[in-house]
Symmetry: C2
Subunit: 229 residues, 2 copies
């Protein structure tokens, strides 16, 4: 199954890593950026890494959002709310937003091992307040390090998907499992995203303590297997 995915903030390390993995899996990816030139450059860099080209293009953020049913948001927390307000008119009716935002204190000059409190409970719930009615939100991918995404090997990490919408959860889970090694897990309702978001700060602590850049997590004891890829 192929579908078009717009990655808002797709020129950044996390967004471009997801773009690379999905393009490799045969998905059609649109890199969104504030600047058309930067979007096109990022798309060209990713296309150059693919065996078969042409599945990745760059557009300005509003055009990227308007072009697809599946929008993935990968911007720093400080830009999230402002950007979503700007993009609100661009969403197609019935589109869905997959939010990867983590409210790290680093986004306001604090530590990457600490998180900010968000009034709504999580960045994902803030996003859900800001998208048009009828646009479903799922939270996912917060715990995948950009370094892992840009590597060639399978990603040794589960993706915990939180959503109040079954279709959004399903699409986010399918996209997660397009990444070799990733297992998608049902993390329940969107409000649970607050825990998954904060887990990223803990993974950063572990990265610092153990001198690595690719700590991830696997949930054990579940009756479903991890991906064998």
């Amino acid at each position: 199954m192929s579908r078009a995915i717009a990655i808002v903030g797709g020129t950044g390390p996390e967004g471009s890593g997801l773009a690379l993995r999905w393009a490799r899996a045969g998905e059609t990816v649109i890199i969104g950026s504030r600047d058309l030139g930067r979007a096109q450059d990022a798309a060209a860099r990713i296309a150059a890494k693919l065996a078969s080209q042409g599945q990745v293009q760059g557009l300005e953020n509003p055009a990227a959002v308007a072009a697809v049913e599946v929008v993935v948001l990968t911007v720093p927390f400080t830009g999230q709310a402002t950007l979503l307000k700007q993009l609100k008119p661009a969403f197609r009716p019935g589109a869905m937003l997959i939010d990867t935002t983590v409210p790290l204190a680093a986004s306001i000059g604090g530590r990457a091992t600490r998180s900010l409190g968000v009034w709504q409970g999580s960045a994902a719930q803030q996003a859900a307040e800001l998208v048009p009615k009828g646009v479903a939100v799922a939270a996912a991918f917060q715990n995948l390090s950009a370094e892992l995404l840009h590597a060639d090997e399978p990603v040794d990490c589960d993706v915990i998907v939180c959503s109040d919408d079954d279709r959004a959860r399903q699409v986010a889970s399918e996209l997660a499992e397009k990444i070799p090694g990733v297992r998608a897990l049902n993390g329940g309702s969107l409000e649970n995203a607050r825990i998954v978001e904060q887990l990223t700060a803990l993974l950063i602590t572990l990265n610092l303590r153990y001198g690595v850049h690719k700590a991830g997590l696997r949930i054990t004891g579940l009756p479903i297997k991890e991906s064998t890829e």
Copy 2:
């Protein structure tokens, strides 16, 4: 190495599970309870499961705390602060407290998949405010399900230890790795316990969603091996 460990709230499912695992590993365990008879009954039930007996006894909580250098707190969140205030005079100078408390909303009649906000940031930081000066606090063991602890097989879960005190972190880590299968990880300072505590609520969500009782977690991508037991 053997040492005496007092488990305050040791008659409950989590405390008795830790007591069983540590007694099996050759540690000397004192089950603490408000009621001496219940403490002794719980100790006898655990002793009956051991190949070699006599390493487990029951005492009232204050006597248990006064008897040891290593105190492990395994009570519901609603009882934590009151109990620590009562026990404050009982701590030995230089003792350490290993706090396993999770501020689940279930403790006040809410959902086990939600947590309560604690003014200090975490139950562990609340504990650190309430122990006598000179008593070091480590947070650990929050993510080990009682069911896993009471089973015979190795526990497929990492224990993330958060502390501002190197000795408390080391003792908590040693005790964690006395449990077959468990790997202890350095989770940084005590303030990070808030994330580890909330992870328990997420594990409960996953237990509910997947119909199991023993979800745990492993951190991937670190340069240290998991226990082979």
